[in-house]
């Protein structure tokens, strides 16, 4: 099995400039996190709000650079602060954001949203770009009638499907999903998670899946990393972490979460329907 992405002691500090009354200070958002994910596998990153998950996601997807540490993607060390990214490297890693209402440009039609990555990174003719966009739209469960619509005409779940389609246009090997379903209804969550699982099989995708919902993590993860104040306090296979948590924070996290895997999500929906 080949390793797709590897992080070694990744550190990220934010310098918050001071004002008249405040002193400048440094936020240590990520404090030396290491991980590695093999092809076709899913690493889930769990942790409470503000523990540095999104910061790590932006580093892995090469949006921001790390303050220190190494990021190795398909065996190549990448540092966007030192050398500009090649288009080749760019297309290997894509991201899905948490808020489906903020991740699509409100002034761009869906067809253009999907074709754009190809327009920028390839010299494919427009007709072929549109064909591929259309095919991808179908793959994520939307139809050709959606091609010329604007983002505000879609529901949150549909938007997230569009975001997924766009991320896959460049044939990436690694997809970073930053809480991709936490803004969605439970029933829609299950649909999107199933779609993600199907796509992972079909395209042999590697996922880094960020979440604070343990039921979702239990459903999708192969390996789990628990973050706490910028540190990885727990890291192991799903079975190991769930059955035998080592760190105190993980134990309280598990104790505080109602058991809710996809089966119990379904059960809850059924109960809701029965009650209504």
């Amino acid at each position: 099995m080949s390793v797709i992405v590897e992080g070694k002691n990744i550190v990220r500090d934010y310098h918050v400039p001071g004002g008249l009354l405040k002193k400048a200070r440094t936020v240590h958002a990520v404090k030396g996190v290491s991980f590695s994910v093999e092809k076709g596998k899913t690493l889930a990153i769990v942790g409470e709000s503000g523990c540095g998950k999104s910061t790590l996601a932006r580093i892995i997807t090469l949006i921001d650079s790390a303050t220190a540490g190494d990021l190795i993607i398909e065996g190549q060390k990448v540092d966007i602060a030192k050398a500009p990214l090649t288009a080749e490297m760019r297309r290997k890693v894509q991201i899905i954001f948490q808020n489906p209402y903020g991740s699509l440009n409100p002034r761009q039609k869906i067809g253009d949203v999907l074709a754009e990555p190809l327009k920028i990174n390839t010299d494919m003719p427009a007709s072929e770009r549109n064909d591929r966009a259309m095919a991808m739209l179908k793959k994520v469960g939307l139809g050709p009638e959606h091609f010329n619509r604007y983002p505000h005409m879609f529901s949150g779940g549909q938007r997230q499907r569009i975001a997924i389609a766009r991320a896959l246009m460049l044939n990436p090997s690694l997809l970073v999903l930053d809480e991709p379903v936490s803004a969605l209804d439970l029933s829609v969550q299950a649909q999107v998670l199933n779609l993600l699982a199907d796509l992972q099989d079909e395209f042999d995708l590697t996922y880094i899946f960020i979440s604070h919902d343990l039921s979702v993590v239990r459903y999708i993860a192969d390996e789990v990393m628990v973050m706490y104040y910028g540190e990885a306090v727990e890291y192991g296979t799903r079975e190991a972490v769930f059955s035998n948590p080592q760190h105190d924070y993980t134990k309280t996290l598990f104790a505080a979460t109602p058991r809710a895997d996809v089966d119990s999500i379904r059960a809850r929906i059924a109960a809701k329907k029965a009650a209504a």
């Binding site: 932006r58 997807t61 090469l62 949006i63 990214l85 288009a87 760019r90 297309r91 890693v93 894509q94 991201i95 954001f97 948490q98 808020n99 903020g102 991740s103 699509l104 440009n105 409100p106 002034r107 754009e116 990555p117 920028i120 990174n121 505000h152 975001a163 766009r166 246009m169 460049l170």
Partner: protein, 274 residues
């Protein structure tokens, strides 16, 4: 949107006023093909005496109505051109400052500050006195004092929009930063700036009039400000010479302002409904 717009009485009134003014400006060369600066009859003819010169003549015997029509051309042309120039420059500066950040932002905003601390009219005066009065110079002179506000507003918008996920997403698919700034960020930052445009146009029309009043307008064109200044010398014996162009000026500014208010209101209602 247009139906919402026409529902407010202010917007309708403003639209009618502006439509009349535009019609005046466009019709001027056909209705008054003679040079409006040429002598048309006896000097200081009061209004409603001679029906070929309905609004009478000024001290030099020039047709007041013809001046009013040709003056509408100058006022609107200069007002719109100056406003467009200041909005384009302001939006460019604001986008670059907000998007680039760092020292670029610092430098551009200090320059903006510098321009903003000098009153716009003084800046225009100084510029015209140095560069000489001509239509183009007047446009630039007015824009010189008016671009800072759109620049500030655009920068503030851009600062918030550049943190949106779709901007990060554009970076992840490898879009060039300049393209991100002008295709992803700028269009979404525009609405509040455009809402301001009516105020900028109105201010530009007034500044143009003030410059002409002080004799710094293009001497080869009739302007309302120039007509008011011209009438001032005989204000007691022939007040209509100043009052008529004065009313035209007030109506123009009012019309622009009402249309702007109506548009802002309509878009607010639309957003509220969405």
């Amino acid at each position: 949107m247009s139906r919402l717009f026409l529902r407010s009485p202010e917007a309708v009134a403003g639209t009618i006023i502006l439509a009349l003014l535009v019609a005046m400006a466009l019709a001027a060369p056909w209705l008054f093909p003679r040079d409006p600066l040429a002598i048309a009859g006896p000097a200081m003819l009061p209004p409603f005496q001679d029906w070929t010169i309905p609004l009478g003549t000024d001290r030099l015997g020039r047709d007041v109505l013809s001046g009013l029509f040709h003056g509408a051309r100058t006022s609107l042309a200069v007002g719109l051109a100056a406003a467009a120039t200041s909005i384009v420059v302001g939006v460019l500066v604001g986008t670059i400052a907000g998007f680039a950040g760092g020292w670029v932002d610092e430098v551009l905003m200090r320059v903006t500050d510098a321009f903003q601390t000098v009153p716009g009219f003084l800046l225009a005066l100084a510029f015209v006195s140095v560069a000489g009065p001509s239509l183009g110079v007047v446009v630039v002179a007015i824009a010189l004092g008016a671009w800072t506000q759109p620049a500030r507003i655009t920068r503030a918008e851009v600062l918030s929009i550049r943190e949106r996920d779709y901007v990060a997403g554009a970076r992840v698919i490898g879009m060039h930063p300049a393209e991100i700034a002008f295709r992803e960020v700028l269009p979404n930052a525009l609405p509040p700036v455009l809402a301001l445009s009516s105020v900028i146009v109105a201010a530009a029309v007034l500044t143009e009039a003030a410059l002409s009043f002080l004799g710094l307008g293009d001497p080869n064109r009739v302007t309302w400000g120039g007509m008011i200044a011209e009438g001032r010398a005989v204000l007691r014996s022939a007040p209509f010479l100043s009052i008529v162009p004065g009313i035209a000026l007030v109506l123009t500014v009012l019309g622009v302002y009402l249309v702007g208010e109506g548009a802002v209101e309509a878009s607010a209602v639309k957003r509220g409904n969405a």
